[in-house]
Amino acid sequence: MKVGDIFATYRKALSFVRRSYMLQMSYKFEFFLRLFFMFFNILTYYFVAKLIGTAGMKYLAPYGGDYFSFVLIGIAFSGYLMVSLRGFSESVRDEQMMGTLEAMLVTPTDASAIITLSTLWNFIFASFRVLLYLLIGVLLGVSLAGANVIGALIILGLTIACFSSIGILSASFIMIFKRGDPINMLFMSTSELFGGVFFPITVLPAWLQTVSHLLPMTYSLNGMRHALLQGYSLRELAPEVGTLVLFSAILLPASLLAFRYAVRKAKMEGTLVHY
């Protein structure tokens, strides 16, 4: 890719973010309501953590021993999975339902770029939520003093690449079948239970832990907790980083191929804008 192309993509990305921001801000009440109810969510886990106290120490020791810190990272970063899984398919569906997809697809901008850039605002909003979660967590006593920020950002980048691939696969299904996307259902239902969002996967029976090891969420949250709560070095984070690189290397090209196939199939069937 040439420098000019990168610059053009950046400006196009800004344009998509600006559009999404303006649309979001035309529903200000909903925007602030979402932020407001985030606090209740965090407070719930804060008091659950008080109730648990040191009872889960055996399982929580590898993450520093504090349940609130553990679950805060879990709920904050699992948001990226939700955005990735839902964001791409919802972008396709929203543009189909609003009627704007066809007008966008008749421009020189590639269909994959349109769908990818349409989700940017969701990722920005998710990042804003993560920052707020962490800020509130710190105010409630979570210590991020020794955090390895570089390590956390690497894990975050790989997490987004990995989860986005799954999201693009999900969008491919929506493009062809319109509803009933199995990828979304599979990952949404399994990741929270087996991915270690609310409790360490060591709580699960050994045979169920096998399922956990097949999910990118497990490595993403493990890496993020180790980087932020315990300040693991990049060398110590290597197992999680390596596994996420592997997941991304397989899932990203596969998802882009699937999406290209889905767009071609929808164009062949004339169902590009059907929903």
Binding site: K12, S15, R19, T100, A103, V106, G270
Partner: protein, 293 residues
Amino acid sequence: MAIETIGLTKTFVVPRGIGDLVRRRPAIAGITPVDGVDLSIGKGEVFGILGPNGAGKTTLIKILCTLILPTTGAARVNGFDLEKESGRVRESIGLVTTDERSFYWRLTGRQNLEFFASLHNFYSDDAKNMVDDLLGVVDLKYAADERFLNYSAGMKQRMAIARGLLNDPAVLFMDEPTRSLDPGAAQGLRDFIKGEIVRERGKTIFISTHNLEEAEELCDRIAIFDDGRIKVIGSPADLKASLGDASKLSDVFLHYTGKKFEERGGTSASGFRLNRRGFPHRGGGLGRRRGGV
């Protein structure tokens, strides 16, 4: 040639469910809205495709705009192959539809056009200047910063034309552009197409219409299109002359399709006040309407 098609055919199969895909059940034959279409349209020509609802006009336009892939046949638009160079085709065309949902209703007219300009790779000041010019061309500068949801049907249609011109396309596709307009507004729009887009800008226009007078008034040549097939092509005058002096375009349609043409939409603009660009004055028709959709 601006547009050239050879044996262009589209057959839609009945949509299959996931079970059929898994079982690799063969596709079921469906309808063929475009059937062996051969066309040669010159640069600067206004070419109309005239046919009843369901004739396949929109499908043909969508194929030529790369939104639907043809089943068989080939086509070139502005010299670019429809399948192999679809990106280049899209760079050189504009599409004007009557679907008012194709805009973001909660954004202003200006915000909408600036966003779509970015999809054509125009950004910042370039985009702003171009959008400003186009808003002037379609006489919507006065309402540029109002939300699209407050626009009248005519204003929305003018926005669609402005969007179609964003990339200064060599070929402009217009799918029944006057469908949702009242007679006066429709006449204003036709005058605008003739004056601004054809005479001033010299665009090639491929227009589908359901309106005989519109076809006659705007088009250098028309194709009578029915059941996915082109029945005849010629200038409105030649087609009428071929059937005798007193013939009308509706007679031509009846002659070649065996069907009576049931027209939609009005045509008269008598008594309508037009502004300098040929649009009805803001007070009526395409003019400003506040509060509500």
